[in-house]
């Protein structure tokens, strides 16, 4: 949909290229974000999880798959019968729970990262295409997204895993596909608002191509809602992968993925509460942290959504 330039501008002419200082993140943002105590706590927890995940190879007291046959189902260190060698106790085959949780943190955060980047890139691209091309293409894309939204995400993810077969990678693919509609709809809505603005029309008049319009001019101005969605998407990705892992359709044992750990631990619920408690607590804290931060981001970036 490229319009021919009205007045072809010879290269080198035009207004002088003054290096305007790009508007950095407004200080307003940090003030609003910092004032939201929940968001700061969320950021703190995420920082902590990230540190644990990154330092796991060095700081984890034991290798995550090492089985200590003389220390099966040991309770946490502060309880009677616990040992300080295994701070959070051991599981049914004598693996150190703390070490597994730390490695699990790196797995869960990588899952979040990969799923969110994939769905953000693909979703934003589809949304841009729908918003710019309109017409048949738009209808096709949006109807497809409506169908996907009509299904509960876990159900659709299960369907995809049923086709691809269980496994961590397939679970991630499934979840990345399942969350696409949110990004597509957000991007399309933002694109449609943006394309009526003067700067887009102006740059079209000076001859900006479709690609340039889409990715350089319009996309950066649609980023605020997308970033909020991406943050919340982290929690959804981590939660859903854990759920699939728990159902035996995600990461397979002995991978120390939190949901898979919980599935393994289920049968020991009568004897050893710690094997069930800690992995779930890790999931809850991480998901909560991303939700808190997402709420804070939304308040700080998009004051309109604030009540």
């Amino acid at each position: 949909m490229k319009l021919p330039p009205l007045f072809p501008i010879p290269a080198g002419s035009g207004p002088p290229q003054e290096p305007l200082a790009p508007a950095g993140p407004p200080p307003e943002f940090w003030r609003l974000f910092g004032a939201n105590r929940g968001a700061v706590i969320g950021l703190g927890i995420i920082g902590l999880m990230l540190t644990l995940a990154l330092t796991a190879p060095w700081l984890a007291p034991h290798p995550p798959a090492e089985q200590y046959r003389n220390a099966l189902l040991l309770p946490p260190a502060w309880l009677a019968g616990g040992s300080w060698r295994f701070l959070l106790g051991t599981d049914d085959v004598g693996r150190d729970i703390l070490s597994r949780l730390m490695v699990g943190a790196s797995i869960s955060l990588s899952i979040g990262c990969l799923v969110v980047s994939f769905s953000l890139v693909v979703g934003a691209t589809l949304g841009l295409i729908a918003g710019f091309l309109r017409g048949v293409v738009e209808s096709l894309i949006m109807r497809l997204m409506d169908v996907m939204l009509a299904l509960p995400s876990l159900l659709l993810a299960i369907a995809i895993v049923a086709v691809l077969g269980p496994g961590l990678v397939n679970a991630m693919v499934a979840i990345a596909i399942v969350v696409l509609p949110h990004y597509v709809r957000l991007t399309r809505a933002a694109v449609i608002t943006e394309t009526t603005k003067d700067y887009v029309i102006a740059s079209r008049i000076v001859g900006a191509g479709l690609m340039r319009q889409m990715f350089i001019n319009v996309l950066p101005n649609c980023m605020a809602p997308l970033l909020v969605q991406a943050t919340l998407g982290f929690s959804a990705a981590i939660l859903d992968t854990a759920a699939l892992g728990f159902l035996g359709l995600g990461a397979q044992p002995p991978t120390p993925e939190w949901g898979t750990m919980l599935a393994d631990a289920r049968q020991f619920i009568q004897r050893a509460w710690w094997v069930v408690t800690f992995p779930g607590l890790a999931i809850l804290l991480t998901v909560l942290a991303f939700n808190l931060m997402g709420d804070g981001l939304r308040d700080a970036m998009d004051p309109r959504l604030k009540q």
Partner: protein, 336 residues
């Protein structure tokens, strides 16, 4: 209103085709021979294989196969389970009441607790009660319910021994299935011991499944109430000297309920997805557990049918909610 209904029904059509397309492609995307997938048999005699290909219409072009599939779906033929050889639709319908019972109990629990919590939080806006409720609801919203269910079992079954760990009713009871809802069936049979047992089995799963809707409903009620409380008619009601509880319960709540009803309707998808997890944990014999078992047994006709039916139910309920919403809020009807 009729135009509105027709328009909403029109929107349903592409979704129906989309969902059937997803279910249809399921069988064709799974690597392997479709006859083997559909019959679960290996090493079929080639002549028989060719005959079956014709019988299932698999020798036709894909689009004809799809149309054939849609035709079968409309007639209620969803194939037979590989494990039990029973028609998938029949299996689904036998198990479905259990899921409905669980989901209804869960949403009732969520509404009965969540609605008052949201109202009080809005009335006490900014006070510690408000902060506590909002904090807890954020935790509830972030809760991995499969873990939450395990914690409930840990506390109420393992530590306190109050409630059973799994199943729908204790094994010694046999109730003639009339409605399929055990609570009703036991009452109809006047077997109150069995009713008690069924109720005790229902409590924990309903609690686990209802937690996320509860958090959502509490949050939504609070923000809807906060918006309504600022309106002029509330000030008028107060100024007339109506007792404060009446202003809140009648004037404010009734108007705040519109968005809340929508949110409650939208929880159906959440409930069905949650039921898959909850039923698996509590060995609740409903369609969620059946679907997961079928995936693990590679019972593809069952998986295909189950996904199609569950999706269809979510679609229908969403449609109902939309129509209901148009009924209570006339502005929606004319907006689009």
């Amino acid at each position: 209103m009729i135009a509105f209904i027709l328009q909403r029904l029109g929107l349903l059509l592409p979704t129906f085709f989309g969902v059937t397309l997803i279910a249809f492609s399921l069988i064709h995307l799974i690597p392997g021979d479709p006859i083997q997938i559909l019959l679960g048999e290996r090493g079929i005699d080639p002549a028989r294989h060719a005959q079956l290909m014709v019988e299932f219409g698999l020798d036709k072009p894909l689009w004809q196969q799809y149309l054939r599939y849609v035709g079968q779906v409309i007639q209620g033929n969803l194939g037979a389970s590989l494990v039990t050889r029973e028609p998938v639709l029949h299996e689904f319908l036998t198990l479905f009441p259990a899921t409905v019972e669980l989901a209804v109990a869960a949403i009732l629990f969520a509404i009965l607790i969540g609605l008052p919590l949201g109202v009080v939080a809005a009335v006490k806006h900014g006070a510690w009660f408000d902060h506590t409720v909002m904090g807890l609801s954020l935790v509830g919203y972030s809760m991995p319910i499969f873990w939450w269910a395990l914690l409930l079992i840990l506390l109420f079954s393992v530590k306190l021994g109050w409630l059973p760990v799994s199943g729908r009713i204790a094994v010694q009871f046999w109730v003639e299935p009339v409605t399929g809802f055990l609570l009703l069936d036991t009452l109809l049979a006047r077997d109150f011991e069995a009713f008690r047992s069924a109720l005790r089995h229902l409590l924990l799963p309903a609690l686990a499944l209802g937690t996320i809707p509860l958090a959502v409903i509490a949050r939504m009620t609070r923000s809807a109430m906060l918006e309504v409380i600022r309106e002029d008619y509330i000030r008028v009601a107060r100024a007339k000297g109506l007792p404060p509880w009446r202003v809140i319960a009648v004037h404010a709540l009734r108007n705040a309920l519109i968005p809340v009803v929508t949110v409650i309707g939208l929880q159906v998808g959440v409930l069905l997805a949650g039921a898959i997890l909850t039923e698996t944990i509590f060995a609740w014999p409903g369609v969620g557990k059946w679907l997961i078992d079928s995936v693990q047994r590679r019972d593809y006709p069952a998986v295909q049918g189950g996904i199609l039916l569950l999706a269809g139910i979510v679609m229908l309920v969403n449609l109902l909610v939309d129509l209901l919403y148009g009924l209570i809020n006339p502005r929606i009807r004319h907006a689009r």
